[in-house]
């Protein structure tokens, strides 16, 4: 089962390695289009910005720029829509965004995507995935963008309701009344505060437990995260009288846990399989290097051991005898490695035909004598190396050239007092 999963992962890695430059922008394009369409469906007051052309254009830009740009565009789009409906609410929204950035977002801009992911996924009750995935892949600081996402999600509902009302800015009383209503609706929203608290708790719980070194720490941590998520919202339901659909909550928490595990499993695919293309130079060459990471898990490698007809030369350990005591041999990833404990598990199968199997460890004196007699004498051969085997040095550097401009220092052969050594090496030796 695990082997199958590893093979699937390797397969996906290979596909991703090859198509990274196409897959990344395409995924980004569809995700940003999803976000912009969600904003348009929620607060699409300005018809000009709900058109397919604008959405496509913005998604296209987001597909080739970092994730933060998509968040910025989403923010601007929401402001533009609200502005066309109510200037006052738009100003409030802008100030709110500034506060959120100043107090929460600026400490973890890398996970800014959570800010848009939570509102968009909340429509399908999948927003529980976000803290679980962040708990598995990030630090507890990522609770801040999560909190931002939750605030924006609940803020959108209030803004949507408030923007529908037409209020003239000249009528100060009406503006104040609207403002008071918005703030009251916001302060009365206990669900938002509970969501922020529970999500922060889930992220911290998963992070702390997965850092332990016991077996299956990750599985346990995700399990704990699911439990905290369910219990947190259920307690909030009982204590603060916030309505929660228990069935949906439990089911979606389990789904979120599964998503978190899958994301953790494939995290390396996205993080480390990137083929790097770098270029650099030294004194002699320009290098254009394509570096392909060795993260592939090799296909299953089976080694058949014939235990019934054991011959010393066939032993698996012999593969590693060529290496010294301190050298473990080549580091084969995923290849078969014999291990000391394995010997205990070896069972000798009886040979068919009723003949008793010879144990690997059984000592037979006759066999030993025959073996010694048959062994050929060790022939030690020495290879002769002529001077011609050593080619002229390829790297030719002028001794007189000043290398300090390249950041190097000139090295010259040390002058020795033993002049006789120099003399012996000259070709004129015989003439002396």
């Amino acid at each position: 089962m695990i082997m199958k999963l590893l093979e699937v992962r390797t397969f996906l890695m290979k596909i991703y390695q090859k198509g990274r430059f196409i897959i990344n922008p395409v995924v980004k394009f569809f995700l940003s289009m999803w976000v912009f369409n969600w904003i348009n469906s929620q607060i699409g007051f300005d018809a000009r910005f709900t058109s397919k052309t604008v959405v496509l254009l913005m998604s296209l830009i987001c597909s080739v720029t970092p994730g933060g740009v998509a968040v910025f565009f989403a923010m601007v789009l929401s402001l533009v829509h609200v502005f066309s409906a109510s200037i006052f609410i738009a100003a409030l929204l802008l100030l709110m965004y500034m506060v959120l950035y100043g107090l929460l977002m600026r400490f973890d801009p890398e996970h800014a995507i959570a800010v848009v992911a939570i509102p968009v996924l909340a429509k399908y009750n999948l927003h529980y995935c976000v803290p679980m995935v962040l708990g598995c892949t990030a630090t507890p600081v990522s609770a801040l963008p999560c909190a931002c996402g939750a605030i924006i999600y609940y803020m959108m509902g209030i803004v949507k309701a408030a923007s529908g009302r037409e209020v003239s800015l000249k009528d100060l009383d009406a503006v104040l009344e609207l403002y008071t209503e918005v703030v009251q609706a916001y302060l009365a929203n206990k669900q938002m505060i509970i969501t922020i608290g529970v999500f922060a708790l889930v992220i911290t719980t998963i992070y702390i437990i997965r850092k332990f070194s016991f077996d299956y720490a990750l599985l346990v941590s995700v399990g704990a995260g699911i439990l905290v998520n369910i219990l947190g919202f259920l307690v909030a339901d009982l204590h603060f009288d916030v309505p929660v659909k228990a069935g949906t909550l439990i089911f979606m928490s389990l789904v979120a846990g599964a998503v978190a595990l899958i994301s953790e499993y494939f995290k390396r695919v996205l993080d480390y399989t990137a083929i790097e293309r770098v270029q650099f130079e030294d004194d002699d060459y320009y290098y254009y290097v394509k570096a392909v990471p060795k993260v592939n898990i090799s296909a299953p490698h089976f080694k058949v051991k014939h235990m019934s007809d054991y011959n010393e030369d066939d032993g698996a350990d012999d593969d590693f005898d060529d290496y010294g005591p301190d050298d473990d041999g080549p580091d084969f990833k995923g290849a078969y490695r014999p291990d000391e404990e394995e010997d205990d598990d070896i069972k000798v199968a009886p040979v068919r035909g009723g003949k008793t199997a010879k144990s690997r460890f059984a000592f037979d004196r006759n066999d030993y004598i025959r073996g010694v007699a048959a062994e050929p004498e060790n022939e030690i051969t020495y290879e002769d190396f002529g001077d011609l085997d050593f080619e002229d040095p390829v790297v030719n550097i002028d001794d007189d050239e000043d290398l300090s401009s390249y950041g190097l220092k000139n090295i010259k052969p040390e002058e020795t007092d033993d002049e006789g050594y120099e003399v012996e090496m000259t070709l004129d030796d015989e003439n002396r």
């Binding site: 506060v99 104040l176 790097e276 770098v278 060459y285 290097v289 390829v394 790297v395 550097i397 052969p413």
Partner: protein
């Protein structure tokens, strides 16, 4: 002839320089205390602006009450309360920022020191090449020994 060991090392260096090294180099311009202080300053500014906006929100929310009791409000008490909350919020943020950015700086330094270790190794390789060119390579020189110990 291309020196494989050198290419391998230089590739590692180039990948680091192109990727996460960019951030680390920026950080390396500062001393740890300077870096932490600079970020604390930015945080202090952000918190002050955000707190001011929140205060305006609150004042607008209570505007009706303020207008009704404009003469009887205890401004001194309100001022002290606002200042107390501000100082509490600020000290929390400053302590967390100081700790957070100090840790970030230390982690970045670790990566950077590994980078410098590789650079030193590269310099040694250059020296070896020079020595090879001049024929002064030591007799016990082992070609396989090298970058694996560093990487």
């Amino acid at each position: 002839m291309i020196n494989n060991r050198k290419v391998r090392l230089m590739t590692q260096l180039a990948i680091y320089e192109k990727g996460e090294g960019k951030k680390d180099f920026k950080l390396a311009k500062y001393y740890k205390t300077d870096y932490a202080r600079f970020n604390v300053l930015k945080t202090a500014l952000a918190v002050t602006v955000s707190y001011a906006i929140l205060c305006v929100f609150f004042a607008l929310y209570k505007l009706q009450y303020i207008l009704d009791n404009i003469l009887t409000i205890d401004y001194k008490q309100i001022g002290w309360t606002a200042l107390g909350i501000y100082l509490g919020l600020m000290s929390f943020y400053l302590i967390v920022t100081l700790l957070g950015y100090s840790i970030k700086y230390s982690l970045s330094r670790k990566k950077l020191s590994k980078y410098y270790r590789m650079l030193r190794k590269l310099k040694e390789l250059y020296n070896e090449e020079d020595a090879y060119a001049e024929g002064t390579l030591p007799d016990d020189y082992d070609e396989d020994e090298g970058e694996d110990a560093v990487l």
